[in-house]
């Protein structure tokens, strides 16, 4: 090896090490900073009470509750839709069909659409079109569903997270050995019996992983709910599908940009960000744990 390459090599290696160090440092700084400023503000009071005094004091309970309600509604919508799509694509559609290629392309593109576009779409489609139609048809034109509401925010979020669920479910379906399907068929199972008795039970873990990843993504997004249902400040919790709600991410956004006294809201802001971060980490961690358990089990099966 010549001297020149030796020096060049050493230089490149140190640059790569530096790049890695930068990434680690960034994460450490972000989390450290949030922990440092936010941990002190976290208390039972903070988690269980509504914001007070122009959001400079009190807690964030309505935002936590709203976020939870949002992701539960979103899950109810996205899991059946996503699982049905994946099962159709993997188990029913002919293998080399052009139609399925098109659907797959659409799903990949859906995953690349910016969140704010989903927000605008949800506003125009769900509130202004679907909601207004419901009001005209059922409420004699009275404004009930034709305005931002938690149900519309949840459906918009469901569209955003749909690719996650479809991809995770399809991956789970692909991991099921073809021989299981053949064994079930050979015992006289119809396709639907085979899917219900063999495929779906085996795919449960993968579907669950997809669901958790969707929830984790959904609980951190702000843009899709901005126009479709999230409220600036609401002391009341949402109780009906057409109520508005507070959301953690949106609450952070509001406190950062719209607060009357930015300095005074800062401690609350940091603590809210910390709660949001913990929630997302926890969900991601759960998803990873479930997925690795499934992978281990699959390895044992082979």
């Amino acid at each position: 090896m010549s001297k020149g390459t030796g020096i060049g090599g050493t230089f490149m290696v140190s640059m790569m090490a530096l790049a890695c160090a930068v990434i680690v440092a960034m994460v450490a700084i972000i989390i450290g900073n949030i922990l440092l400023h936010g941990a002190g503000g976290i208390s039972w009071e903070f988690l269980s009470r509504a914001p007070e005094a122009g959001m400079t004091r009190g807690g964030i309970f309505p935002a936590i509750f709203g976020t939870a309600a949002l992701v539960i509604l979103m899950t109810i919508a996205v899991i059946p839709l996503g699982v049905a799509t994946a099962v159709y694509m993997h188990e029913y559609a002919p293998k080399r069909s052009r139609m399925i290629g098109l659907v797959r392309l659409a799903i990949q593109n859906l995953a690349g659409v910016p969140a704010i576009v989903f927000g605008l779409f949800g506003y125009v489609f769900f509130t202004k079109f679907v909601g207004a139609a419901i009001d005209r048809g059922l409420y004699g034109g009275e404004l009930v569903y034709g305005q931002p509401a938690i149900v519309w925010a949840a459906l918009t979020m469901a569209l955003l997270t749909l690719p996650t669920v479809v991809v995770a479910t399809e991956e789970a379906l692909r991991a099921i050995p073809q021989s299981y399907r053949e064994a079930a068929y050979a015992l006289g199972a119809t396709r639907w019996q085979m899917i219900r008795r063999v495929v779906l039970p085996q795919a449960t873990g993968g579907i669950l992983t997809g669901g958790i990843l969707a929830v984790s993504r959904g609980s951190g997004e702000v843009a899709p709910v901005m126009f479709t249902g999230a409220a600036y400040f609401l002391p009341e919790l949402p109780r009906r599908l057409h109520d508005q709600f507070m959301e953690l991410g949106y609450h952070v956004y509001v406190m950062t940009t719209q607060s009357i006294d930015v300095e005074a809201t800062k401690p609350v802001l940091y603590s809210t960000v910390l709660v949001l971060l913990m929630l997302t980490f926890l969900l991601n961690f759960t998803a990873i744990m479930i997925r690795s358990r499934i992978r281990r089990r699959l390895r044992h099966d082979r």
Partner: protein
């Protein structure tokens, strides 16, 4: 498809004789002819084995007999298969029904990811049979597969816990629970040790009085020792079929002689 008017009406009697016959069965895959018109029959009371080198179409043929081949839509099947005189490809024979009557055991044991009992109950649970008749049928099937003594206390264990040979006998029992007329075995002993192989062969000898058995095997010796008649396939053609002793002692075709004496394949 060939329709036989005298058997068009579903008649239990006709199906009970357990005969299965392929007529001019042809299979094409991506423009390539895999089976070139096979006409071959098997009857109850005998084990018919099918031998031949790799690529002869043995497995393809077997998978036509319970309509498993069509799961891959790239295969084009023409000709017909008659079970007890009725076409299994006719419109009034549901495909699930065909597969319940014509059981199959694969070359690798495939226990479903369930308990031993769950595997055995899978077939009956798909419909038809009432729950209280299951246990009796399951025990009978396990005895017939020579597995009862080994698993009678392990029915609630995952089927994966069984040894390879036990798993394959479980798969045999699982097919037998449905009381099929015909049993197809696709190299059922290819991954098994001689003891497990012997157990399966013993079970088959006792089964053949109730079930028509068709055994595809790569092991010429297995065909010689376990079957009553043997068919030799080569490149998608049926070269000859005869009583096993005759085929192994005085083959009529030169290619059969070459294959069984190990000169090719």
């Amino acid at each position: 498809m060939i329709d036989e008017p005298q058997n068009a009406r579903p008649g239990e009697k006709a199906e009970e004789d357990g005969s299965i016959r392929s007529e001019a069965l042809q299979v094409r895959h991506a423009g390539r002819q895999i089976l070139k018109g096979i006409t071959l029959a098997a009857r109850r009371g005998e084990i018919l084995s099918i031998i031949g080198p790799a690529g002869a179409g043995k497995t393809t043929f077997l998978r036509c007999l319970n309509r498993m081949l069509e799961l891959d839509t790239a295969f084009e099947i023409t000709g017909d298969v008659l079970l007890g005189g009725r076409s299994i490809y006719s419109r009034d024979m549901p495909v699930a029904e065909v597969r319940r009557r014509v059981g199959m055991v694969f070359s690798i044991p495939v226990p479903l990811p369930l308990t031993v009992y769950g595997n055995l109950a899978f077939g009956p649970s798909l419909g038809g049979a009432t729950r209280d008749s299951w246990d009796e049928k399951i025990e009978a099937a396990l005895r017939a597969a020579h597995l009862w003594d080994e698993v009678k206390d392990r029915l609630q264990e995952p089927a994966r816990n069984l040894s390879g040979g036990q798993q394959q006998r479980l798969c045999l029992a699982r097919a037998l629970v449905l009381r099929p007329s015909v049993l197809l075995l696709d190299e059922p002993c290819s991954g098994l040790d001689p003891v497990s192989t012997a157990r399966i062969e013993e079970a088959l000898q006792q089964l053949k009085k109730d079930v028509t058995v068709i055994l595809v095997t790569n092991n010429v010796k297995q065909a010689a020792r376990a079957s009553d008649r043997t068919a030799f396939f080569l490149f998608g053609e049926l070269i000859e079929v005869d009583r096993t002793e005759s085929l192994f002692t005085t083959p009529r075709d030169r290619r059969t002689a070459d294959y069984i004496s190990g000169r090719f394949g």
